[in-house]
């Protein structure tokens, strides 16, 4: 009797030890995979945060510039007088997929805007790619649409973004001197407002990779 009970205890212990051996083996295998912060992508987290901040600063600087190529002037840089059909001034690159408006090359964008100058000097010259997207509310104000000022391809999953929202007013002047509310070719529509003073709010989004 007593011998049998002791035998059961021995089996229990054996079970415990076997399970621990297995658990340790699994843990060892898991720990063997080194997950460093850089495992997921090219740049490490600190560098990425730094670059994102630089892109954000580029937008802030461009928005506070008092010259005629600041951020809101860039958004309103619409040309209806050229020989081509209406489009962003001197934009010669093909439109982004599914979009109607011609886009800029990095050099072309640098010629036309403060934002383009900063982005070209800091990022394009160092081999980075970026898209500049304009996101705005539609006529009813309940859905959002977007168009591209610059399109260098579809962004990979490790891209990061910075954005700045600019306000357009009904009497904001476009590059050709017309008030924005009178132009029918401009892709950004007048959104639904009660006071008829604010035209639309446009988020300028820089996607960088």
């Amino acid at each position: 009797m007593i011998g049998q009970r002791d035998r059961a205890q021995a089996f229990t212990l054996e079970g415990f030890i076997a399970s621990i051996v297995l658990l340790v083996a699994v843990l060892f295998a898991l720990q063997a995979v080194v997950i460093a912060p850089t495992t997921g992508g090219l740049a490490d987290r600190t560098t990425q945060a730094q670059l994102q901040q630089e892109a954000q600063d580029a937008l802030s600087v461009a928005s506070q510039d008092s010259q005629d190529d600041n951020l809101s002037a860039t958004v309103l840089n619409w040309d209806t007088d050229g020989e081509d059909e209406a489009g962003f001034t001197d934009a010669n690159e093909p439109a982004a997929p599914g979009q109607g408006e011609r886009t800029y090359s990095p050099e072309g964008f640098a010629d036309q805007s403060q934002l383009g100058k900063i982005l070209e000097e800091r990022f394009s010259d160092d081999g980075w790619s970026y898209n500049v997207e304009l996101v705005y509310a539609d006529e009813d104000g309940d859905e959002f649409e977007s168009t591209y000022l610059m399109y260098q391809g579809s962004a990979p999953s490790d891209a990061f973004t910075a954005s700045h929202t600019v306000t357009l007013y009904n009497n904001s002047e476009m590059a050709n001197g017309d008030a924005v509310e009178n132009d029918t070719t401009y892709p950004i529509p007048e959104t639904d407002t009660t006071s008829d003073r604010i035209y639309n709010l446009v988020e300028v989004r820089v996607i960088l990779w």
Binding site: I2, G3, D6, R7, Q9, A10, L13, F16, I17, I20, L23, V24, L27, L30, Q31, I35, P37, R45, T46, A49, Q52, Q53, Q56, L59, S60, S63, Q64, D65, S66, N70, S72, V135, Y136, A137, G141, F144, S163, H164, T165, V166, T167, Y169, N171, S172, T191, T193, T194, S195, R197, I198, N200, L201, V202, E203, R205
Partner: protein, 150 residues
């Protein structure tokens, strides 16, 4: 050893066998403790890895202030009668539109409310901005002048 025990059924042998089991039991407990240490170590490691940078939200808040200041300053510049009109445009349109535009791209809510509209002048306005995101919440009062428009 187990077969030995089966054959010898007297009390003294049984006690010796029990001593072995206690020894093995102690080793098992030691392994269990080691295992728990390993598991906790792993959990802490994962926690350290998954903690993201939260410093970005502070710069988001600064961006929000700049956007609102510029939006309202340029609005004042464009209105015919800013002292009477600014408050209406902010409450009717700008506040809602701004909230929608920001909410479309980031998990944050910003509300803008005029403060002391009776003091709104031809070139200034005071608004209270409440900013809420998942890791930052604050309320601030912005005194905006027409000169803030770039």
């Amino acid at each position: 050893m187990v077969t030995d025990r089966r054959r010898e059924t007297d009390g003294s042998t049984n006690n010796r066998n029990r001593g072995q089991i206690i020894l093995i039991g102690a080793i098992a407990v030691a392994f269990i403790i080691l295992g728990i240490v390993l598991v906790f170590n792993g959990v802490l490691y994962t926690e350290t890895l998954s903690t993201g940078s939260s410093s970005q939200s502070a710069s988001d808040a600064a961006t929000t202030e700049t956007e609102i200041t510029q939006g309202i300053a340029c609005l004042i510049e464009r209105l015919d009668d800013p002292a009477n009109e600014t408050e209406d445009v902010i409450t009717d349109d700008f506040s809602d539109r701004y909230q929608d535009a920001k909410g479309e791209s980031k998990p944050e809510v910003t509300s803008i409310a005029p403060v002391e509209p009776e003091n709104f002048g031809d070139d200034n306005a005071t608004v209270e901005v409440s900013y809420n995101s998942n890791d930052l919440e604050y309320t601030t009062t912005l005194e905006i002048e027409e000169a803030n428009c770039p």
